[in-house]
């Protein structure tokens, strides 16, 4: 803690999401320490008043609460358990929050290693994208002890508006992957339904209205259709690749447990087609075009598309 009794906050990973979340943390009275492999990214925050660290272990030595926002679970592992990693200096009663989209398995592994040192951990993957990160309106699924969540709620409240408790450690990462698997499956289903409706001569708006009054409705038809898919605005600021990563996380858990996913595995096969066509960096909403192309609708539907 600093001299005025404020907990020191450390932040590792100043990428697209991390940098926006860090901007929000600058608004707190707590001292903020940052670390990233890019010196440029650190300089930016240095100029804004943050302290700069030279390694993850430097951060964990100086700070009471450490957050990471990293691209994948291997990098999370390196930063926490690797050479010059947090594990080398982190001490009892400190708190570690992983905001990355990591895997439940990695989170359990790291949680176990940290617990031996008396360190408390929560997994807190975020959704809604960069815009929400900047505004502080993220949705955050939190796994871990409730008392740990309460200790760092002031930080999470700065980052998001919906702090959703999911259960024990790693359940945040699990449920985020499951939620995205559900949304992707419901999306492909809804697009397939829309394709059929168009071919049957039903106006897309009327179709949407009818489905939304019926049992086939989902968040995809009640919210996303109007926003992205009816006007064909492919700008959700979330890439196909990132969605595919979440699908992999969920299905990998199933594979390791030898649990069949006979329906939703098809969702990832369709995403694999998109990625093998080199569309990984494109917006996730463009899965609509992939589905339309597969179902051979696109070439016939140009005149009816809104």
């Amino acid at each position: 803690m600093d001299k005025s009794g404020f907990k020191r906050i450390g932040f590792i990973g100043l990428g697209v999401m991390g940098s926006r979340m860090c901007e929000r943390l600058l608004l707190l009275e707590n001292n903020l320490f940052v670390y990233d492999i890019s010196k440029e990214a650190m300089d930016y925050f240095y100029k804004k008043g943050a302290e700069v660290a030279d390694s993850p272990k430097d951060i964990s030595q100086k700070c009471d609460i450490i957050l990471t926002s990293l691209p994948n679970h291997q990098i999370v592992e390196n930063v926490v358990l690797g050479t010059n990693g947090m594990i080398e200096t982190i001490s009892e009663d400190k708190i570690y929050i992983d905001l990355s989209s990591s895997t439940p398995e990695m989170t359990k592994k790291i949680g176990k290693a940290l617990k031996e040192k008396g360190v408390k951990m929560i997994d807190a993957p975020v959704s809604r994208g960069a815009g929400a990160a900047r505004e502080g309106t993220l949705s955050i699924m939190v796994g871990g002890e409730e008392s740990t969540l309460e200790e760092c709620r002031f930080i999470l409240d700065q980052l998001g508006t919906d702090i959703l408790q999911t259960g024990k450690l790693s359940s945040g990462h699990m449920l985020k992957a499951l939620n995205n698997l559900m949304s992707a499956s419901n999306l492909i289903t809804a697009i397939e339904g829309l394709s059929m409706a168009k071919k049957a001569g039903v106006d897309p708006e009327v179709f949407t209205q009818a489905i939304n009054a019926s049992s086939g409705k989902s968040h995809m038809t009640t919210v996303r259709f109007e926003k992205y898919y009816l006007p064909r605005h492919f700008n959700s600021n979330f890439s196909l690749e990132l969605m595919n990563k979440d699908l992999s996380i969920a299905l990998e858990v199933a594979r390791k447990k030898a649990v069949p996913m006979m329906f939703s595995s098809l969702t990832q096969e369709i995403y694999s087609i998109a990625i093998s066509q080199g569309k990984g960096h494109e917006d996730n909403t463009r899965i609509m075009e992939v589905v339309e192309e597969l179902t051979e609708l696109q070439k016939n539907s140009k005149e009816t598309a809104l």
Binding site: L164, K199, A210, V259
Partner: protein
């Protein structure tokens, strides 16, 4: 005096529609291929007639709600079918869960006789039919819908005009396909979560304020799975039948179905384990059994 309405197909749905319309002052004539249902009619103060053609001779409006698309063809074009007794300017309201293709064929034949037809398949089940709160998806001419609106409003609260003839059946089939897909998605995904040690109620709380939400997670799972009742009053057999209609329709429309076909395939696999009359929510239990229990 109010209109004479004929009902062809006096089963679960048809008999409820008949009662509801009679309570609202219409005179009801009816026909059913099943003798026991014919005998039931006088108890309901419904007038039995011996053929669909007889019904057509007597009534200004004919509601068909039979088993499937082939039964529709039989009762309209078959021996003693509607077509042999129907008068010009009669309206046929086709409420069977049939296919757009069959509906259009019927439309062509009936139009030759100066008869109007709309397709108007219903959803929400038997209690909604009794209370007159059905959801009705309508395809056909606006003028015909306008003339039938007072009848439809006796039966349902949500009447949505989907487009030309056959589109009511199209949207109904697509909705059922989407419902089955969303149910399978929710079942597999939530069950994987259970296997990973997450709690169902907590998962639903989070999913239902997130992008994975569907009517299955916000309505069916809390109502039928959390309570462990598995009674949605909609059978596995009917769901499977509706899925087959959607798949047949996709083929007729030359759309290659991805999720719908996968869902239909899974329903085929499940049909060796689930009797047709079992509630559709038992699908959840069977899938969980595949997954090694939860």
């Amino acid at each position: 005096m109010k209109m004479k309405i004929g009902i062809i197909g006096y089963g679960e749905l048809g008999s409820r529609l008949g009662k509801r319309l009679m309570q609202n002052g219409y005179t009801i004539y009816a026909f059913d291929v099943c003798e026991s249902k014919m005998q039931k009619m006088p108890h309901d103060k419904v007038n039995p007639l011996s053929t669909p053609a007889n019904v057509a001779e007597k009534c200004e409006v004919i509601i068909t709600c039979v088993n499937d698309d082939l039964a529709v063809e039989q009762c309209i074009l078959g021996e003693d079918g509607v077509i042999h007794g129907v008068k010009k300017d009669t309206t046929v309201i086709e409420m069977t869960t049939s296919t757009p293709e069959m509906t259009k064929n019927m439309g062509r034949e009936l139009h030759k006789k100066g008869v109007n037809i709309i397709d108007a398949p219903v959803s929400r089940g038997i209690p909604a039919a009794e209370q007159g709160t059905l959801s009705i998806l309508v395809g056909g001419e606006k003028e015909t819908l306008k003339n039938s609106r007072s009848i439809l409003e006796t039966l349902g609260t949500d009447i949505i005009h989907c487009g030309e003839l056959g589109t009511g059946h199209a949207v109904k089939a697509i909705n059922m396909m989407m419902m089955s897909c969303n149910l399978l998605t929710a079942t597999e995904t939530l069950s994987l979560g259970l296997k990973e040690g997450l709690e169902l109620e907590k998962m639903l709380d989070v999913i239902n304020v997130s992008s994975g939400e569907s009517y299955m997670t916000s309505h069916h799972f809390p109502k039928y799975v959390l309570t462990e009742t598995y009674q949605s009053k909609f059978s596995f057999g009917l769901m499977n039948k509706d899925l087959k209609i959607a798949i047949k329709m996709a083929e007729e429309l030359e759309v290659v179905s991805l999720m719908g076909k996968r869902s239909s395939h899974l329903y085929d696999l499940l049909s060796s384990r689930l009797p047709a009359e079992e509630d559709n929510m038992h699908t959840v239990k069977e899938i969980q059994a595949w997954m090694g229990g939860v």
